[in-house]
């Protein structure tokens, strides 16, 4: 089921959470909504689910206006950051909830729950209560629960935000594979650019309630539409009149066209790469990431003055004039 968000605006008191946001999410895609906290990304997801109502604008699900449709009739699965496990029910009853609400026969519910528990690798946990599961297990249970009634759309609100790094990486991987298997239109909200880039095939970047850019992870990284997107997706520095990423900086001992004079402040060897802290004449700091052999060739030392240019094979973003 495709999702279309049309000119959605939402205020909470005097706070403008979403400012005229329009976004199309094609059927079967895995889209990340990326933004810092307070950017309105969760609000957007909750509006798609029907848990919030927009002040203006429309939500279309499969081409039909769903703006005023109650959440229980939208056919979406929603996964909350803090799991929202039904604490008074066993794992089996949690996962089977959507089916029991739909008054399916007991046998069918049993089979479907077993199938889902296998999918999320919680086979042995059916009769436990959520309080006896770890965070990662609870979130997998919540995913199984959201998938039980075969929703047309799966929405995940910072699903891995409350988990530790190792479990998070595991679940990311798992979500990616799940999407390949189940192919349900999936939207997940995150503030972690790495997570967004790694898991999704499309990323929508939000800032201060406004949509900054939508595209594939590579498009966003290589051709950011704004300074905000550029900086949010990874380190970026101003080199002369352009922005540049650390791995795009080239150092040389002699000046060339457009080269900027910089001083080497620090050299740190990180495996096959070398990180070099640089500062230009105006005090602007930057970080260069060079191959070790290049640095060895240059015989670079701390405190030396060298010339920095940007690797021309990488795209650069014209910087706005400094304010």
């Amino acid at each position: 089921m495709s999702i279309e968000i049309r000119n959605v605006t939402k205020r909470f008191g005097s706070f403008l959470a979403l400012d005229d946001v329009s976004l199309e999410i094609p059927e079967g895609s895995l889209t990340a909504v990326l933004g810092p906290s307070g950017s309105g990304k969760s609000t957007l997801l909750r509006i798609v689910a029907g848990l919030e109502r927009p002040d203006s604008g429309e939500i279309l699900l499969a081409g039909e206006d769903a703006t005023r449709v109650a959440p229980q009739r939208r056919d979406v699965g929603f996964v909350f950051q803090h799991y929202a496990a039904f604490k008074h029910m066993t794992v089996r009853d949690n996962v089977g909830f959507a089916l029991s609400i739909r008054k399916r026969p007991k046998q069918e519910i049993r089979e479907r729950v077993d199938e889902l528990l296998e999918l999320v690798q919680l086979q042995g946990f059916a009769d436990r209560y959520p309080s006896r599961l770890s965070g990662g297990q609870r979130q997998r249970m919540a995913l199984a629960r959201a998938l039980a009634a075969k929703p047309q759309v799966l929405l995940l609100d910072e699903p891995f935000g409350a988990l530790d790094a190792r479990v998070r990486a595991e679940l990311r991987d798992w979500l990616r594979r799940l999407h390949e298997e189940v192919h349900v239109t999936t939207v997940f909200v995150t503030h972690d650019q790495e997570e967004a880039m790694e898991v999704s095939d499309r990323v929508a970047v939000l800032d201060h309630g406004q949509l900054e850019q939508v595209g594939s992870p590579a498009e966003l990284y290589d051709r950011p539409a704004s300074e905000f997107v550029l900086r949010f997706l990874g380190d970026a520095f101003r080199l002369g009149d352009r922005f540049v990423r650390p791995h795009e900086i080239v150092l040389d001992r002699f000046p060339s066209d457009g080269a900027v004079e910089v001083e080497v402040e620090r050299i740190v060897v990180v495996g096959a790469d070398v990180r070099i802290d640089l500062v230009d004449g105006s005090g602007e700091r930057m970080l260069a990431r060079l191959r070790r052999e290049n640095v060895d060739q240059l015989e670079l030392e701390r405190g030396e003055i060298v010339w920095a240019t940007a690797d021309q094979t990488h795209r650069l973003v014209p910087a706005e004039p400094p304010a």
């Binding site: 959440p71 929202a84 039904f86 008074h88 609400i101 209560y129 309080s131």
Partner: protein
């Protein structure tokens, strides 16, 4: 260690002197002369009737205040509306106002010169000195307990589970019965027990409006008072002990049925 022991001794000592000693005394006095006098009092027609009146008033007040308390708690925690602070404060009114004052206000309201009295009397409905007044007074004094127990539990619960249930297809009604109510059930049960205890023990307001007509509008508590006034101390002790025993049974039942699965 000595400090911890001292703390324990003070806490226990306080409970013994303030709570247990009076209770023990009444049990002692009741059974001082064996079971025969106790049985005589309890099998008396007026005593049985007084307990019936108390139980009927309780049986009406508890369900009404349970439903009202849960609805109030839901409104106060989940909704935004004008006058919410006022509602929140009003729920506590019966705790703040002396029961005697409650009784007096009811008396004035349903008396011949009150706002409701003339109309009701015109339609042949006797409120004062009859069952309706006893029930009204009992309801009034036992309003706060369910709401006061449920409000903090609802706050702590949040509404994420209900939102999750909504996205899973549950209607508002299904969300209440399958998510909200099971989640607050212990608070509701605890509130019901406190309400029941308050109803059974109500004296002040009922004493003013019931008229205390022996065998008609006497309740268990007013009966105790009347017996003492008439120097029937043994009878008063027996009735008091039965009230105590009912309270103890209720408390024990609550302890036995405490939740296990969630605390594990």
């Amino acid at each position: 260690m000595p400090r911890r022991l001292a703390l324990r001794a003070v806490a226990l000592g306080y409970l013994v002197v303030i709570l247990l000693a009076p209770l023990a005394m009444i049990f002692y006095r009741t059974f001082e002369h064996g079971l025969e006098p106790v049985w005589q009092t309890l099998s008396n027609h007026n005593t049985i009737h007084a307990f019936q009146v108390t139980l009927i008033a309780t049986a009406i007040a508890v369900p009404l205040n349970t439903v009202f308390g849960v609805l109030c708690a839901l409104a106060i925690v989940r909704r935004r509306f004008r006058g919410k602070g006022l509602l929140n404060a009003f729920i506590d009114l019966p705790l703040a106002v002396s029961p005697v004052v409650v009784g007096l206000s009811l008396f004035l309201l349903y008396d011949r010169t009150g706002w409701f009295g003339p109309w009701l009397q015109g339609h042949g409905i006797q409120v004062l000195f009859a069952m309706p007044a006893i029930v009204l007074a009992t309801i009034f004094v036992s309003v706060p307990f369910v709401a006061r127990e449920v409000i903090p539990t609802l706050r702590e619960l949040g509404n994420e589970q209900e939102q999750a249930a909504a996205t899973l297809g549950a209607t508002r009604w299904q969300r209440f019965w399958r998510i909200t109510l099971p989640s607050i059930r212990w608070a509701v049960i605890y509130g019901v027990i406190l309400t029941t205890a308050r109803c059974l023990g109500e004296y002040g307001a009922v004493a003013v409006v019931s008229g205390r007509i022996e065998g008609k509008t006497e309740t268990a508590t007013t009966l105790i008072d009347d017996m003492i006034q008439n120097f029937q101390n043994g009878g008063a002790y027996a009735v008091a002990v039965v009230l105590c025993l009912i309270a103890i049974v209720v408390l024990v039942l609550m302890t036995l049925t405490k939740p296990r699965e969630e605390t594990a």
